[in-house]
């Protein structure tokens, strides 16, 4: 009980916790730089695995920075952060399921176009 009371005393001080402006400007700058690089991926016409991995890398880097710092998730309570992030694994599962599905659809289309269903 004593601990709780002490916390209440501290709570009464009208201090708003804000972050230094530097952190926002840094993240802002980084987002511009990352966007520029992802545009360069198209500009120089990288192809194949290099193109896809670079696109994904810049995409996740940008998304991570926005969520962690602009949306303050880095400073939020874990109860909230985990409720938000764990459902993303369901989306990842769905992506893998549908990736397997489109491979199969493409295969069966090609198969019946060129080999035929009869015989």
């Amino acid at each position: 009980m004593d601990d709780t009371n002490q916390i209440n005393e501290k709570d009464k001080k009208p201090i708003e916790s804000t972050h230094k402006i530097g952190i926002y400007l840094w993240i802002w700058g980084l987002l511009f730089v990352l966007s520029f690089f992802s545009y360069m991926v198209d500009w120089y016409q990288f192809q194949g695995m290099l193109r896809w991995s670079l696109i994904l890398f810049f995409m996740f880097a940008k998304a991570g920075l926005i969520m962690a710092f602009f949306m303050h998730l880095f400073w939020e309570r874990y109860a909230l952060v985990n409720v938000l992030l764990w459902p993303m694994t369901a989306i990842a599962c769905f992506v893998f399921l549908m990736a397997a599905e489109f491979e199969y659809t493409l295969f069966s289309r090609m198969f019946y176009f060129f080999v035929g269903g009869g015989a």
Binding site: T18, W28, S38, F58, A63
Partner: protein, 237 residues
């Protein structure tokens, strides 16, 4: 940026804190404003909607044997007589990230009770969003003139149009709604609805508070976040 301490609870950080928050038979997101928790849950559901669109696009693009239109050429724009790939899309990305930055600063100045800076930055964000919607309208009309329809297009696989209009249209709707709210909140900040303990909330009899600017910011950053994924998967892939 939740309140670090609230009445009656000793909040612990990290996973230990999560366990006690979740298992204490009380409110779960302790120290998190209810509006913020609800906005996050709405954004989570919106994430699923956009994911379904993008996954459907992956499935559609992956399963067609017809050549997919090359986005680098379809979205090219003439600048000084030279076709520049994805020029408009790059500008749209630039505008949206700029407005995301001004929004983040607006939230910061809001919490510091700097009414004028907060108001101007929310207004700047609204104008950035409006610019984005304008550029998107231009992009749509250009493609429609070139003969892109949800059922056919002159560049390649017929599915291209339906995915393009559906995904960018849904994102554009989110931006438009965001712009409307940004203008309303810019007015509310300038009018001092959040000053001196708060005067007027929004659709509620409760008092307003600068936390509303952070909640609005969450929505706006989410719109930017979705654009990051659309930019990667639709325009670059």
């Amino acid at each position: 940026m939740s309140d670090p301490k609230i009445d009656g609870f000793e909040l612990k950080p990290g996973f230990r804190g999560m366990a006690s928050d979740t298992g204490s038979d009380q409110t779960m997101f302790k120290g998190v404003h209810w509006g913020k928790a609800m906005m996050w849950i709405f954004l989570l559901s919106d994430t699923f909607v956009f994911s379904c669109f993008l996954i459907a696009y992956m499935k559609g693009r992956g399963s067609t044997p017809v050549e997919w239109p090359n986005p680098s050429e379809v979205f090219a724009l003439e600048a000084f007589g030279v076709p520049v790939p994805l020029l408009l899309i790059a500008l749209m990305t630039f505008v949206l990230i700029t407005s995301s930055g001004t929004m983040a600063l607006a939230v910061k100045y809001g919490y510091e009770k700097n009414r004028k800076m907060c108001g101007w930055l929310v207004l700047a964000t609204a104008i950035g969003g409006l610019t984005f919607v304008g550029m998107q309208a231009y992009e749509w009309s250009k493609l429609i003139h070139e003969g892109v329809r949800p059922w056919e297009n002159p560049f390649g696989a017929a599915q291209f149009g339906s995915f393009f209009f559906m995904i960018t249209g849904f994102h554009g709707t989110h931006v438009s709604i965001g712009v409307i709210f940004l203008f309303i909140y810019a007015y509310k900040v300038f009018a001092g609805h959040y000053e001196n303990g708060g005067k007027r909330g929004w659709f509620t009899t409760m008092k307003g508070d600068y936390v509303e600017i952070e909640i609005l910011g969450l929505y706006w950053h989410f719109v930017d976040l979705v654009w990051v994924f659309i930019f990667a998967f639709f325009y670059l892939w």
